[in-house]
Symmetry: C3
């Protein structure tokens, strides 16, 4: 895998200058870059380290003085992270999964695998599964009966796809992702303490100790196009209907999405976020790392939640929230500042009480 | 798999009316239901959608006017979620694991597998393992040496059962569940900063930087009957004794249970909850999603923790708690309401100071 | 596996008394110990239970009166947890992985596996992989192309090692650990609402709904010597450079470490901790369970974070922190105490307002 400077610039739609026929085999940080590397120095603070390496070519900010930096060629990009998307896609060497179907894979004779799809060692493909064109199924993946996987999917190793899952095109799954585990849904014969607490916000009432009966998941998981799911994340089957992840949404490592929940399009669910069952999430929602979402609520389009937010009630579209419980980020900041002053405030009130009521401090 | 309306009603112990010989093959949401489906419309708000579908039969609330809803038959249930348990159990089509032992499974000759148990493709069963009657071991499961698995277990794909685990009857494990990983237990040669902080609640003292030495896990995991564990959850081995999960308890996806911890009977540990080592949890405890529990404490019978609670000290039986740190839910609510008013309270105190002490506001 | 009392004491460098030729086969809790067991009774409160068991030998605190406890021999240890490290290492029976390369493993002919390394059933070892002397690769592990694994590694079952990972000696990985998943890194063509919120701390501005473009991970994961990673944890590849875990650091179950992040030496990252991308963590840092760390910050040497801390900004070396957001533990405690008194403080202010301004309470 190698490209000229000109080829890379053309792919990015970017301007380049200098010896644009120079060959690049790899991207590197400015201080580590060798003569065959493309140094990623999109801001002046990164360019300083170029002198520690041997880069001949770098990606720079617009109008950068590349010759003063001792380079022989440069590519200029107006939005560095966008350029990162293009460059890293070109230079990705992948995981080295061999084309074709590995002889050790266990494939049900009724499965339909597109001729140019690849299936890695020891993968298991169940009855009536359909796998689209160009799909790459990693080692040790298990694809359950009647599941459908679209074109150009890339599954890393040990991904689970449960029975009857329906997944669109260009799906990416990191190692150990679980699509279609059963929902966590139980019921007691009589009203439970939890049901009482939800009504009273704190009182169990006289509910007695009981066993939990299982509600099975008859639904599956339905995933749109261009979705990516992270390592060891878990997306549960729906109870009656399917759990859904909309096209363009990205789910990070160790994220949990509960049964029946519907995530809209182009959402980001960041690391270790947990969404309970029967939640409705709109489009373009971003949930920061370790966000938690209680069951049976809705989150409107374009909501952004800061890391660690615990969302305990409906959130209107466009709101930016934070905290436990999650409230408007600006309100959270005001409360937080006031909390920092709370010990002093307490002292002030004691002084006022003493002055006004002539009484000694109470603590 | 198909049932008449009468068969379903009989299984639920519920009343039915109309053409109770009609055949049902599937459960569906009211708006999606076709003529062979059982529409789940247990409350008037769900029944409204029946007119969008083609259901002939529905599950309704008690005394519902089924004929006015355009149905040909109906089943009436007093507690909808209980009916869900029964109906979904009847109509669950499962994951399609074939009966018998798949020829690709790697089974130690000393393992004892009950004649009517199933073992899926590429599963690994270690030396002296015992697997009970009717058990279904999914593809790619690994069952460690000397482990015992009771009757009628259902393991989805890629479940780990560590060496010497002892598991009761009717165990269910979702994909990627880890039973019997080693505990996270390390010690420094001399007193560490963490040990000092635990005593002083904030001061490391003069502990120096040290290496961590590993305390191995000699214990295993012991699980009662009727336990379910979620996808990618982790239950660590004990150090000397076993880590225990009591009968009837249910553990959700991505939950962590640390070494030596004992979970009682009929508990629910909801998604992404983390329980540290050496915790004693009573019976009928419910920990909401993303609950955290510090090590070496006890949680009494019947405790309920709201989602996101961080439990940092012992909790007496029957208490309902919430917050970080977890306190009585009612107290938490009072504090939270006061926090919301805190910016205004701060302004009030400034006004009082100005009036009483004739001094300008301090900020 | 059996040892005399004398052999165990010698290995620990500890004193022993009595019939030190007695044979031990197992460690046990005092109340459960049989005549061939070593009872772990390192403090008087544990020794009380000795009378419930049949122990002949125990590990006791210094100067304990072993004869009064009815024992025939005893080992005396000044720092009990240190003794636990030594004793449990001696008595660990392991997971029973057979020596040699299992015939069902799928090994690329270009892989170099040291002659005395073991590879378990159905493991997959990719092209040009190098595995060091004495390494034990568990069942169902997948080791990606060009990865390097040092001497004496122990990988439990179903561990993923991504392509090009570089791992030092004595590495331990619990089941389902993921080394080298791709980073979670996406960009929108134009400035996104999230980018605006980060600048304004709460305002999305007029950013429009957009798609997310993927930034691929060209880097890998680099791990020092003596590192342990927990069950189902995830360590992502770097974008350009490698993600790094320093020698001696230990990572617990379900922990997430994001792309580009560098963890120093001898750190502990406890259960379910999540570290975002591009974080610099010093040496000897301890992050308690469920800690969260925002991206692009640094955490100095020797920092200790209490369980549940959400670290949203840089933390200087040596600091002990807690809370959401994480602040000095002592400050957090002061604020927390004041919060508990907040409802009363509110009432006091109302009384003051009434007295000073002659106005009725406002709520």
């Amino acid at each position: 895998m190698q490209f000229t400077v000109q080829q890379i610039a053309d792919a990015l739609g970017a301007e380049c200058q200098g010896d644009t026929g120079l060959t690049i085999v790899r991207a590197a940080e400015p201080g580590d870059a060798g003569p065959m590397d493309l140094a990623m120095a999109m801001a002046p603070k990164y360019a300083e380290a170029l002198s520690n390496g041997d880069a001949r070519v770098a990606v720079l900010w617009e109008n950068a003085d590349w010759q003063a930096l001792g380079l022989r060629a440069a590519i200029f990009v107006p939005r560095p992270r966008m350029a990162m998307a293009g460059i890293t896609a070109m230079l990705d060497r992948g995981q080295g999964i061999e084309p074709g179907i590995h002889p050790s894979a266990v494939i049900d004779p009724t499965a339909e695998i597109a001729p140019n799809a690849s299936v890695g060692p020891l993968a298991v493909v169940g009855a009536r599964v359909r796998i689209g064109s160009g799909a790459i199924i990693g080692a040790h993946c298990v694809i359950g009966t009647d599941a459908v996987l679209g074109d150009n999917a890339v599954l890393r190793e040990m991904v689970s796809i449960g029975a009857r899952a329906q997944i669109g095109d260009r799906f990416i799954a990191q190692p150990g992702a679980r699509i279609g585990s059963d929902g966590f849904s139980f019921v007691t014969p009589e009203v439970s303490g939890v049901e009482n607490v939800r009504k009273t916000l704190g009182d169990q009432g006289d509910a007695k100790a009981q066993n939990w009966l299982r509600i099975h998941s008859l639904g599956a998981v339905e995933i749109g196009d261009d979705v990516e799911v992270g390592a060891n994340c878990t997306i549960d089957n729906g109870t009656i209907r399917n759990t859904c992840i909309g096209s363009g949404s990205k789910v990070d490592n160790l994220v949990h999405v509960g049964h029946n929940t519907r995530v809209g399009q182009d959402c980001l669910l960041c690391g270790q976020t947990g969404v309970s069952g029967s939640v409705e999430i709109g489009n373009n929602v971003v949930l920061g790392g370790q966000t938690g979402v209680v069951d049976n609520i809705f989150i409107g389009d374009g909501v952004i939640a800061g890391g660690g937010t615990k969302i305990l009630s409906n959130v209107p579209a466009g709101r930016v929230i934070m905290g436990y419980p999650g409230i408007k980020m600006e309100t959270h900041t005001d409360i937080y500042k006031a909390q920092r002053r709370l010990p002093r405030l307490t002292r002030d009130v004691e002084a006022l009480k003493k002055a006004v009521f002539k009484q000694p401090p109470s603590d």
